[in-house]
């Protein structure tokens, strides 16, 4: 327990230091992300966005931001650390790599939560959007994040082996933005696209999150209508499959000597 705490604090501290060293970029990115939301909202609403209509979009958009962070961490982050040799140093740790990776992921969630609160707060303040804080949203949100990180582990494993997954991770990040139901309702999509959109991580999570947080539905009711069940199964599949792919990538990288090669 103490070890896990130390690893977690260590990773959080490192992430904050690195974030601070890129503070100018970070500020611009925050502005860009806020601006992007406003721009898309105006476009989607035909130039007349209403705060009530924007609340579900913002909830989805902020969830998408976690996906951006997770994917960036696991693909760009790992690739960069492969190049700098710090990934090899991590693998020379006597601690299990799974623990270190989990520590990194939790640190990443903490940091991105801080950013989401900042960006979300500014947008809510400026645009008059109201998203209530409901405890029932916490487990749904946790499940959604777990699924997203499972997806990110999948990309992390692929990065360890193939290195050049930039284009793929960018494509997936953008695909998630437009297909996770943040701006375009999934139900209005053609059948095949809806099926595809629902298979992506975060789509189901955002859907259930809206019902619980914005429509004030109880956990029992979303469980009964099957949406929370589907989210749990979906998350489980992504998490275990993603973790499996990451372990596979790790093994292949060790076999081919790719941990420190680019």
């Amino acid at each position: 327990m103490v070890l896990t705490g130390t690893v977690l604090l260590n990773e959080c501290q490192k992430r904050l230091i690195l974030l601070w060293s890129y503070r100018f970029n970070f500020m611009l990115e925050t502005f860009m992300i806020g601006f992007l939301f406003v721009g898309i909202s105006f476009f989607v609403s035909g130039g007349r966005p209403e705060p009530e209509q924007m609340a579900p979009a913002l909830l989805g958009y902020l969830t998408w931001f976690f996906a951006v962070f997770a994917i960036s961490d696991m693909s760009h982050g790992i690739r960069e650390e492969t190049q700098t040799g710090t990934l090899e140093q991590m693998y020379m740790s006597p601690l299990p790599s799974g623990l270190l990776l989990a520590g990194r992921s939790v640190a990443s969630i903490f940091i991105s939560s801080g950013m989401v609160i900042l960006i979300g707060g500014i947008l809510m303040l400026l645009l008059g959007i109201r998203i209530p804080v409901r405890p029932a949203g916490v487990p749904v949100f946790a499940l959604t994040l777990a699924g997203l990180y499972g997806f990110a582990f999948f990309l992390g494993g692929a990065t360890l082996v193939f290195k050049q997954v930039n284009a793929l991770s960018n494509l997936l990040t953008n695909m998630l933005l437009f297909l996770n139901g943040s701006f375009l309702t999934v139900e209005r999509m053609p059948g095949w696209m809806e099926a595809f959109a629902r298979s992506l991580p975060s789509t189901q999570g955002i859907d259930v999150l809206r019902r619980v947080v914005l429509d004030d539905m109880s956990l029992a009711s979303v469980w009964q209508d099957g949406s929370l069940v589907w989210l749990t199964v979906h998350t489980g599949v992504f998490l275990f499959a993603g973790w499996g792919v990451f372990l596979w990538g790790e093994r292949v990288a060790r076999k081919r000597g790719l941990l420190g090669q680019y």
Binding site: V7, T84, L95, R254, G260
Partner: protein, 339 residues
Amino acid sequence: MKAAIKIESLSKTFRSRGGNEVEAVSRLDLTVESGQVFGFLGSNGAGKTTTLKMACGLVMPTTGTVRLNGYDVGRQRGQAMRQIGAVLEGTRNVYWRMNAWQNLLYFGRIKGVSSSKLLKARAERLLRELDLWERRKDPVGEYSRGMQQKVAIAAALIADPPIVLLDEPTLGLDVQASRTVQEWVVQLAKERGKTVVLTTHQLDMAENLCDRVAIMSRGQLLAHRPTGELLDLFRREFYKLRLRGAVAAEKAGAFPGFTASQENGHTVLSGEVGDDLSVFELVERARLADMDLISVTPAEPNLEEIFVELIERAEEAVGQDGSLERGAGHRSDGVKSRG
């Protein structure tokens, strides 16, 4: 003496995208004793770094085992990793956006140092010893190359491992920084009893620092001996004949395989004396050629000459048989001989 590193039947075969197999390390057996400075020498692609990375658990061997202070890297990974700290070549090894202090604390924690007090004390001691204390709060990216390398070495030592692996530790450093690193390597082994394994292309450095050297070529060990013994071994085989004045080319031809040079108005013929040519025959040949012989002395070979000689032998053997293994037989003295 206790074995700090024990490598048994270690092989690594990489498969290229075209499906070709490249044997980077071939059935390597090696023991490095505790407290030694051990030099791994070889040309690019000889298999040194792959061997080192297998010892660090970063590359999975095709066959064989590596034990660090008795712990199997493959099966007792956690304990084995507590035995080593490594600085690998060609990469930064530490975060350049973080300062030296932050790097040492970060790597100390992921290397399992749980006591914050102990970690900070070690970090301070290392930074002071390496003259980095005053600049500990500057990002590593702003340091000189030598200082960056010092931080990487300090990060490798932060958990106080008994074995330190340094892959080309002085590559790209200026003379002063290189000297500091070398002095530190000696100090680590002699004063703190650490086992230091280093790979290098700087043979003069290996000659000065290493208690023992291993020379690798094409994944195989060509020689593995204490540095002094290796030099002695070759010292016996090489001789220098000092002759008064200039010697005509046709007369020098009486000594095939010898190289001629001029030193202070004298001609110096240097070459190998082996089974087919004794020192007495050399003297006799000089007398018959009517040469004015001043002296015959064993040449003082340096590690570079030995290295070149061994590599040439290995290349020759491959050229003749297509296989280094078949071509270079193992001499009883730990040096692979001509086939």
